[in-house]
Symmetry: C2
Subunit: 413 residues, 2 copies
């Protein structure tokens, strides 16, 4: 946990409404950090449905493997998360540790270990001592006052400089359902420490297949659209829980993909996930600028996305942003290296509202002064029109600063 908060942090946190069917507790288990919470236990009402998306890393962590193995049951009663140790690349010990962790939580909450979801974030390659959960589990399960959403979001932080929460309300059948989410991550974006985790909860009753479809459908335009350093974590995990408590208020279960009420839920969930994803970029390690890359006019959306990520991941583009330099030549370079269809002589590039290049060369009307003014802003939009088709994409990132190098040059030691 860094000592100074990112200058891009939100100026205030939203009021997070209570959400029926989920209850948090946090504790200090001393897994790595001292003097701060590092364990989060969420207990979930019986009947809670769950959906998940996970890292595509071929070296996924033991908790990721565990969650994948139980996800098809579609039900959850608990979520146990620790920061400070990723339990990744820990071989048989890692597998034993997740089994023991699930057993410890299941005993305390009187549920089946196969209903306990797990996530760990922190250093890779150190065995995780699951016995440490044993020391705090009764305290967690018996906590008299439930922890707040902010407390919960704080317990899962590593190199994050601020907790990330978001909330949304949706009217269904004249009643309101709530969606609350939290995330951590300061790099994917920057694994090994700043692994991306997000946990989202709703009190709506939603069947597992519908829940999974909602989550998977919104992931590409949110968490898969944020990058800090192009590095993919071994532990990335997004879980969406639906406690179903809203059924008691007369909102019947959403269990069909063609349920017309799903549209508003999907839209609200998508916005909330984008909000959390942007907060991750705003807390990118060493970040001083937030960057939205917009690509349009590509042959396809997929092609636009590849090009947008090529720009967002380019160290040269990111250092230019850090230096407040409207160096559009580096954007050209990043388009060119993406390997996607592009016609140099149809390319146009904007920083904010200032068009700097058009028809394959510098815009004759381009004012260096105006472009420089854009680069001095905290939030910067880089827009590229390829002039080829209708494909478009939008991704978020941050600048690459000396602080990124400092943070990552001595993280482990």
């Amino acid at each position: 946990m860094a000592s100074t908060v990112s200058p891009l942090a939100p100026k205030s946190y939203p009021d997070m409404p209570d959400l029926d069917g989920v209850r948090f507790a946090t504790a200090e288990a001393g897994i790595k950090y001292k003097g701060r919470t590092d364990v989060l236990l969420a207990s979930l009402d019986e009947g809670t449905a769950v959906a998940g998306v996970f890292t595509r890393s071929k070296c996924s962590s033991a908790p990721v493997d565990w969650c994948k193995s139980i996800l098809s049951n579609g039900r959850a009663r608990a979520l146990l998360v620790n920061s400070g140790n990723a339990n990744a690349f820990t071989g048989k010990k890692g597998k034993s540790a997740v089994e023991l962790s699930a057993k410890i939580a299941a005993r305390a909450l009187a549920c089946d270990p196969a209903d306990v979801f797990l996530a760990s974030t922190g250093v890779i390659g150190e065995p995780l001592d699951a016995e440490k959960f044993e020391d705090v589990i009764d305290e967690l399960a018996a906590a008299e006052k439930p922890a707040s959403w902010l407390d919960a979001a704080k317990a899962i932080m590593t190199t994050d400089t601020f907790p990330k929460v978001a909330t949304a309300s949706v009217d269904i059948d004249g009643e309101t359902i709530t969606i609350n989410g939290m995330a951590k991550g300061a790099g994917m974006i920057a694994p090994d420490m700043a692994t991306m985790l997000s946990f989202i909860f709703t009190d709506a009753a939603i069947s597992p297949p519908v829940l999974q479809s909602l989550l998977s459908g919104e992931t590409d335009d949110s968490f898969n659209s944020v990058t800090v350093d192009s590095d993919t974590s071994t532990s990335d995990t997004v879980l969406l829980f639906a406690t179903g408590a809203a059924e008691k208020r007369g909102i019947s279960k959403l269990d069909a993909l063609d349920d017309p009420r799903l549209a508003t839920v999907r839209a609200a969930l998508g916005d909330l996930m984008q909000n959390l994803a942007q907060q991750i970029a705003r807390d990118g390690e060493g970040a001083r600028k937030f960057v939205e890359v917009q690509v349009e006019g590509a042959e396809t959306d997929t092609s636009a996305r590849t090009i947008a990520l090529s720009i967002a991941n380019s160290p040269l583009v990111k250092t230019a942003v850090a230096g407040e330099d409207a160096n559009w030549g580096r954007v050209v370079m990043a388009v060119g290296k993406a390997g996607e269809p592009a016609d140099r002589d149809k390319l146009a590039i904007w920083f904010g509202d200032v068009r700097v290049a058009v028809d394959g060369e510098r815009d004759a009307d381009y004012s260096e002064e105006a472009a420089s003014a854009v680069m001095k802003e905290e939030d910067i939009v880089i827009r590229v029109d390829l002039g080829l088709g209708e494909g478009q994409a939008r991704v978020w990132t941050c600048d690459l600063t000396k602080e990124y190098v400092a943070i990552n040059g001595d993280y482990r030691s």
Copy 2:
């Protein structure tokens, strides 16, 4: 041109023997830099054959397009190179500029413009004023004393901190032929300025198809195996010229791919190209450590190469090296994100000779002290065995330091 020389620069330069059939001159044309040479003219004997490989960028520079358009002739009489301006993304003006440049050089050397090869390196998007060549071309063509190889290599530098040259000799039919090469680049590696260029010359007589086969065959294991920041230049150009002057000494032309004499030439050329490629990594922007990544046991060589590049390009691996931190968890991460076949539980990782991980977890015998000692060295080998097959690869890179961010945060302004 940076003011301090990379600590990884060679302690001395090789004696570069004369090479019959090529003659250099350099000049100060004031294209961008003041008080240093920024133009190189190489005049080549009639009968010189040429081969080339170029950037795969979809936004290639005007000189790259020009070279590609004349390469099939297979013959060259001149090479004109400037630093300070890449003549990339300059639209129709860029095309006019290369045509004019070739015409200016052709008139001075009394040859065909289609026999003049061009390369430009520097800022992207600024029109190149080819008239500036006119001002110096007579001085260049009439230079009484040919410029040395080191002088030539200096004239093509941008953010490079030292000139890069290499030489090799090969005995053929009892006579010696010479191969001399130069390169520039401090990033591909870091385009837009540190564009990679290399020009290699031999006095052997080699037919264009054989020459192209030699060059293309050796590129993957040399220049395509070096990365500084994963960014691909718009201008990357490697040209190999064979003046044929050695024919007069009785070494008959190498004009068949099955000529048995080619084996030694190929080996010497490959070594020389690897030497130049490594010098580029050693002059990587802000570099303080040289890193060789070795991957073995992959399913195929191609797969090994993708994984090796994923490690070499990972900002987290590179910052760990900068911090002298034996953070092998980040190597695991980089293997995992490469998307290639990998089995976590068969993976082994070494820093230098110290095995830090084996069978998917930390090596029980691993000494943090020994690993840390390796990381303090200037040259570091990171070795990964995937345990799956026979595929292997080797790539070179450097660490990612605060100086990289500083150099690239204010290059253009």
